[in-house]
Symmetry: C2
Subunit: 104 residues, 2 copies
C-alpha cells in the first residue's frame, strides 16, 4: 500500500477519493465519493494509458475499488481501507508498546 501511495500521481488520486467518508465519520460505503477515471485525471498532465496504469496499481494494492457504470468506470475508496491505514500509525489499534516507556 505504501509503495502504491509513494508515487505523486497515485497519491493525488488517492487524496481526491478520500475527501469523504473517513474513519470516525458516519459515512457508509454507499456514501463514498466516486469519480470516473477521466475525472480523476483532470488537471494531471498524464496520458490516459498512464492514468489507467496507476489506477490498476492502486486497485491491486487494495487501496481503491473500481466498477463499470455505463461507459465510465467509477472509482472509490472503501472506508475500511482508511481505517486500516489510520490504525497502522495508531497505538491503540495495532501496536503494543514495549520498552521502558510510560503509556497512559
Amino acid at each position: 500500500m505504501f509503495k502504491a501511495l509513494g508515487n505523486p500521481h497515485r497519491l493525488l488520486i488517492f487524496q481526491r477519493l478520500s475527501r469523504c467518508c473517513l474513519p470516525g465519520t458516519r459515512c457508509d460505503l454507499e456514501d463514498a465519493i466516486r469519480f470516473s477515471v477521466g475525472e480523476l485525471g483532470e488537471g494531471m498532465e498524464i496520458a490516459a494509458s498512464t492514468l489507467s496504469h496507476h489506477l490498476k496499481a492502486l486497485h491491486h494494492a487494495g487501496l481503491i475499488e473500481m466498477e463499470r457504470q455505463g461507459k465510465q468506470i467509477n472509482c472509490w475508496i472503501d472506508p475500511a481501507v482508511l481505517e486500516k491505514l489510520y490504525g497502522f500509525f495508531n497505538p491503540q489499534a495495532e501496536f503494543e508498546n514495549i520498552g521502558g516507556c510510560d503509556v497512559r
Copy 2:
C-alpha cells in the same frame, strides 16, 4: 514518506523503530526507542552498504533521526513524525469532509 515506506526492508526498519512512543502515549523524544545501524539490520539478509543506503533514504524522507554515539550511529523516530502520518488518515486532524455525507 510513503515512497520511503514502500520498500519492504525500509518498512521493517521503520516498524522496529516505532514500537515505542507512538502518538497518544506519553513517550517523549528522549524515551524514543533507539537502535544502532547494525542492530537494525539483524535478521535482514542484506549487505551493510545496502542497509546504510536505506537508512539514508528514511532519513532524507524525514522518517528517522540519526546521530553518532561513539563507534555506532543511533537511529530513532521523532514521535511528531508518527503523529503526522497518523493525522494524514485521520479526519479530525487534517481533512475537511466534503460532499453529501453525514459527519457526526
